[in-house]
């Protein structure tokens, strides 16, 4: 075992360690804790890379199997086993990646029983499941060659499997053709979201052709890597042959893609200088045009460096293409971005690392590259004195080294993970602004009203005529998002401070606030607008029910104690007075409470207004059943405060809020 292989494995094990930590948090706290996914970007790196690219990268399996078993090009046989193993691991990683990405991964088996023929994703799921099975059967004979499986049963199994080789290969080709193309078809349903340079009515053809070219180049790259890390022989002539075949397919891909753009008349978009156009040009150059051109030159094709560079470009470029289709060129609402979190990268890389480790395990223990019968690898289990000396001495040096790497990865990841789940975020609050307001003060008995002074028809001059002299003052007050709902209200800070006890009142709003809030929201104190409250007036009831005779109307039991605990529910008598649209639907069994102010008023007024308007339309004022009858700002000032929403454009401040509402509800000072 070479030193560079030991180093590679150490790094891979470290990545697996990081993956382990992220996995725990992912499943304990959900997608939101570890990903940057959102409703605007429902599919991210795990779909774009692990699934889209993973499946495409594994295309080498069916392509090489087809070349060797169907087309009979035996000289490519040395690549077949490695290609099928890569495909098998690739698809296993796709399945593993899906377990991370699915919101409810324990239901991953649902497509087996719940069929929905019209879903492209169903076809993909069915094909991937079937193809994974086919790949296992295709690779099983290689596993059964191992000396552990020399028993008669296993050898008979090998014979049966080998007899069905061609059937399996053809099934694999059909299934791969279907789902490689269907991964593209997934986006046929998003014509308005996917950018026209990537959306295409023949996107499934493009996905298939590019996957075949990419599959060939993946096999090439894998062969070169196994030479670099494992010292396997490179079949140079075949590698350059694969490079040329890939070139042909990539040219077909380029022609199809550009031809389709031209046919749809959007080819011009590729050169109009937008970032999408530049992205498209760069992607096409890297993924297809440059490597395909390179592979046409024999000197480049014959040099393993040249083929390696071209293959790397295709692999990188095609991953980029899949990411572009599923993420980058996929429309999101304006201003909403998506970039994968480090945890998403950690899962993607960790899964790939795990895949490579399994690949290396198979390569070290089975005849993956040396497809010669009865020739198990003769290398002793990797003990490298040099590597061992450099770390912990002893025969378990390497396993120890890898265990430490896993542990280090897992531990180092922990401080960066949201161990307690998604951190709550403060609800955004519009910043307060100081504005000019009118205060209508008609003495102690009346409710003081705050009005926004910006409105033309509420200037001091225009209002002055309709109110008593001296009752109208101007003052600077705050315009604030009191209830954190994006609506601003007028808020008289000094008045609140005065009523709450002067300088010592600050803490009422500014100290005992909820976490992540700067100060207490209005509704924390002004609950009576919405919440039920205890307003039962015993005296009134006694009088109305005829004095002491009336006791038993409510306190029904003859011998029971006449107390609150034994009282008849209010709703038993006041059944028809419950607000129709009350927020509190089902009163608690013993409710001695009245509904909230708003519900009470709506319940009392609205029903009658609507009835009158309906029964007597000609006689009643127009729009009697409309909100504006009571909530109209043009009405008397004392009902203006009920006004719920802005009425005119100049009252809208800050783009989202309404000052008129401010002049109403929030501004009325109790």
């Amino acid at each position: 075992m070479t030193r560079r292989l030991t180093t590679l494995k150490t790094v891979l094990w470290f990545l697996v360690g990081v993956l382990a930590s992220v996995t725990v948090i992912r499943f304990a706290h959900g997608l939101g804790a570890v990903t940057n996914l959102s409703d605007a970007a429902p599919w991210g790196l795990w779909i774009g890379f692990d699934v889209m690219s993973g499946v495409a990268l594994a295309a080498g399996g069916f392509v090489l199997a087809g070349i060797v078993y169907i087309f009979g090009l035996e000289r490519y046989r040395p690549f077949v086993r490695a290609a099928i193993l890569t495909a098998l691991l690739g698809y296993a990683l796709v399945a593993a990646g899906l377990l991370y990405d699915l919101g409810l991964p324990w239901r991953i088996w649902h497509p087996i029983f719940h069929w929905q023929w019209h879903s492209v994703l169903f076809e993909v799921a069915a094909c991937v499941m079937l193809y994974l099975t086919v790949l296992v059967l295709e690779f099983l004979p290689v596993v059964l060659e191992h000396r552990f499986f020399q028993g008669e049963f296993f050898q008979r199994m090998v014979k049966v499997l080998k007899r069905f080789t061609i059937v399996l290969v053809i099934a694999g080709i059909i299934l791969s053709t279907l789902h490689q193309s269907s991964l593209g078809s997934l986006f046929l349903i998003t014509p308005y979201r996917l950018h026209p340079l990537w959306y295409s009515p023949i996107i499934y053809v493009l996905f298939f052709v590019s996957a075949v070219g990419l599959g060939l180049m993946t096999v090439v790259l894998e062969s070169l890597f196994s030479n670099y890390f494992l010292g396997h022989k490179v079949h140079k002539r075949e590698v350059s042959g694969l490079g040329l075949a890939a070139s042909v397919l990539l040219w077909i891909y380029v022609v199809l893609r550009l031809g389709d753009l031209a046919f749809r008349g959007v080819l011009g978009m590729a050169l109009d200088g937008t970032w999408q156009a530049n992205l498209f040009v760069a992607e096409m150059a890297l993924s297809a045009v440059i490597p395909a051109a390179l592979m046409l030159y024999k000197p480049v094709r014959s040099s393993m460096t040249g083929v390696g560079v071209a293959a790397s470009m295709v692999v990188g470029g095609m991953i980029w293409h899949r990411l572009n289709v599923s993420i980058v060129a996929f429309a999101r609402p304006e201003g909403v971005g998506y970039f994968p979190s480090w945890e998403e990268f950690a899962v993607s890389f960790g899964l790939v690392a795990a895949g490579i480790l399994v690949f290396l395990f198979f390569v070290e223990n089975l005849n993956v590259f040396d497809d010669v019968k009865g020739h198990p690898p003769e290398e002793p289990p990797g003990y490298d004195p040099e590597a061992a000396r450099s770390f912990l001495p002893g025969s378990l040096a390497l396993p120890r080294r890898y265990s430490v790497a896993v542990l280090a990865g897992a531990v180092l990841a922990l401080p960066f993970l949201p161990l307690s789940g998604v951190p709550p975020r403060p609800v955004p609050v519009q910043g307060p602004r100081s504005v000019e307001a009118l205060i209508l003060d008609r003495g102690e008995a009346e409710i003081r009203t705050l009005m926004f002074a910006g409105a033309a028809h509420l200037s001091p001059a225009s209002v002055a005529g309709s109110v008593a002299p001296g009752t109208l003052q101007t003052a600077r007050v705050l315009l604030l998002d009191g209830n954190r709902d994006g609506d601003v209200v007028l808020f008289h800070h000094d008045d609140h401070a005065e009523r709450l006890g002067g300088d010592r009142s600050c803490e009422t709003c500014h100290h005992l606030t909820k976490p992540l809030d700067q100060n207490t929201s209005c509704a924390e104190c002004h609950r009576d607008m919405y919440e039920p409250m205890s307003v039962f007036h015993h005296g009134v009831h006694v009088e109305r029910l005829g004095g002491n005779q009336g006791c038993v109307d409510c306190h029904t039991g003859e011998t029971t104690v006449k107390s609150y605990e034994t009282i008849t529910e209010c709703s038993d008598c006041h059944r028809n007075e419950i607000a129709q649209r009350a927020f509190v639907k089902a009163p608690p069994p013993r409710w001695g409470e009245a509904v909230g102010y708003m519900d009470a008023m709506h319940g009392l007024c609205v029903a009658c207004h609507e009835r009158e308007a309906r029964m007597d339309p000609g006689q009643r004022p127009e729009g009697l059943d409309r909100c504006m009858t009571c909530h109209n700002v043009d009405w008397r000032e004392d009902v203006q405060r009920l006004q719920p929403r802005p009425r005119s454009a100049e009252w809208v401040v800050g783009g989202t809020g309404s000052a008129s509402r401010a002049a109403g509800q929030g501004g009325s000072m109790p």
Partner: protein, 292 residues
């Protein structure tokens, strides 16, 4: 019978009674900022419908359109999304596996996901399907104090929409949003401004999106048959040629496994192995002579 809602934007005053009624009816609880959300006022897993505010007192109600041929229904691979005969597009959380293809597919970007849950579900307006089956109307329609929402048979509502547009020629834009977009929707809008911003594109075509994917899906049986016969045929021809070549070479008995190919047999599949043309006389690799 297929029910629908007609939204008259000119009548909406933005009081959000419908939003509150919806939250109450569906027991959605208080709004909170979900991952990726910047304000609580948009659609979210706790807000099936919301009011978008636009200049000049325009309030646009945003909710699931309950398309006649919904993209989400055709996208869902386990059939968790269904279009009911009443017109509602409903979601069966017991089938959902959380792939979120419905979020990707929706032309209006409606479905929402509970990103911060360990066992998240998709959330969207159900047109109060549970009320419809009992003969009721959706909670939002019931709550609207301004009659900005009308509920009824889709055909009748379309007629009413066109009647209103015809009666007030200057008032409305002459278009009923949802009449033809993506094959028609069960939530219709009339307005005095363009509502193109409600979808992913200003101009959603009239093609129902499921037709786009079906164009590719319906080819699947032919692909299976075609690819199967093509590959089987090629194998048969190649195998027979190799068998004959091997027999001619040394009279060896027929071998069930593919035997090494020679240059004679390779010339008719040059597409797949173009390098053969570069080395027409290259001998077979020594490993290639091993029978598997």
């Amino acid at each position: 019978m297929s029910f629908a809602i007609l939204v008259d934007i000119t009548r909406c005053i933005g009081c959000e009674e419908c939003v509150l009624a919806c939250k109450d009816e569906n027991d959605l609880g208080p709004d909170r900022l979900r991952p990726g959300q910047e304000a609580v006022s948009g659609l979210s897993a706790t807000r099936y419908s919301t009011i978008l505010r636009y200049p000049n007192d325009h309030f646009v109600r945003h909710q699931c359109r309950h398309c006649l041929e919904p993209a989400c229904v055709s996208a869902c691979l386990v059939g968790a999304m269904q279009k009911t005969p009443e017109g509602a597009v409903v979601y069966d959380s017991s089938l959902c596996m959380g792939c979120r293809y419905c979020l990707v597919a929706c032309p209006y970007g409606i479905p929402r996901y509970e990103w911060d849950e360990a066992a998240p579900l998709v959330q969207k307006c159900t047109l109060c399907h549970h009320r419809l089956v009992e003969g009721g109307v959706p909670a939002c329609v019931e709550a609207c104090p301004e009659d900005a929402l009308l509920f009824g048979e889709r055909d009748e509502l379309l007629a009413e929409a066109h009647r209103r547009i015809a009666q007030n020629p200057g008032k409305y834009v002459d278009h009923v949003w949802g009449e033809t977009e993506v094959g028609g929707t069960s939530v219709l809008y009339i307005a005095d401004m363009s509502l193109g911003f409600l979808g992913w594109s200003d101009k959603l075509g009239e093609t129902a999106l499921p037709h786009l994917t079906w164009a590719s899906l319906k080819k699947v049986p032919w692909m299976v048959v075609g690819m199967g016969s093509l590959m089987g045929g090629i194998y048969w021809v190649v195998n027979r040629r190799m068998k004959l070549a091997a027999r001619a070479a040394d009279g060896a008995p027929f071998h069930a496994d593919p035997v090494p190919i020679d240059t004679d047999a390779a010339h008719f599949v040059t597409d797949e192995a173009p390098s053969d043309t570069d080395h027409p006389a290259a001998p077979a690799e020594e490993r290639g002579t091993d029978h598997d």
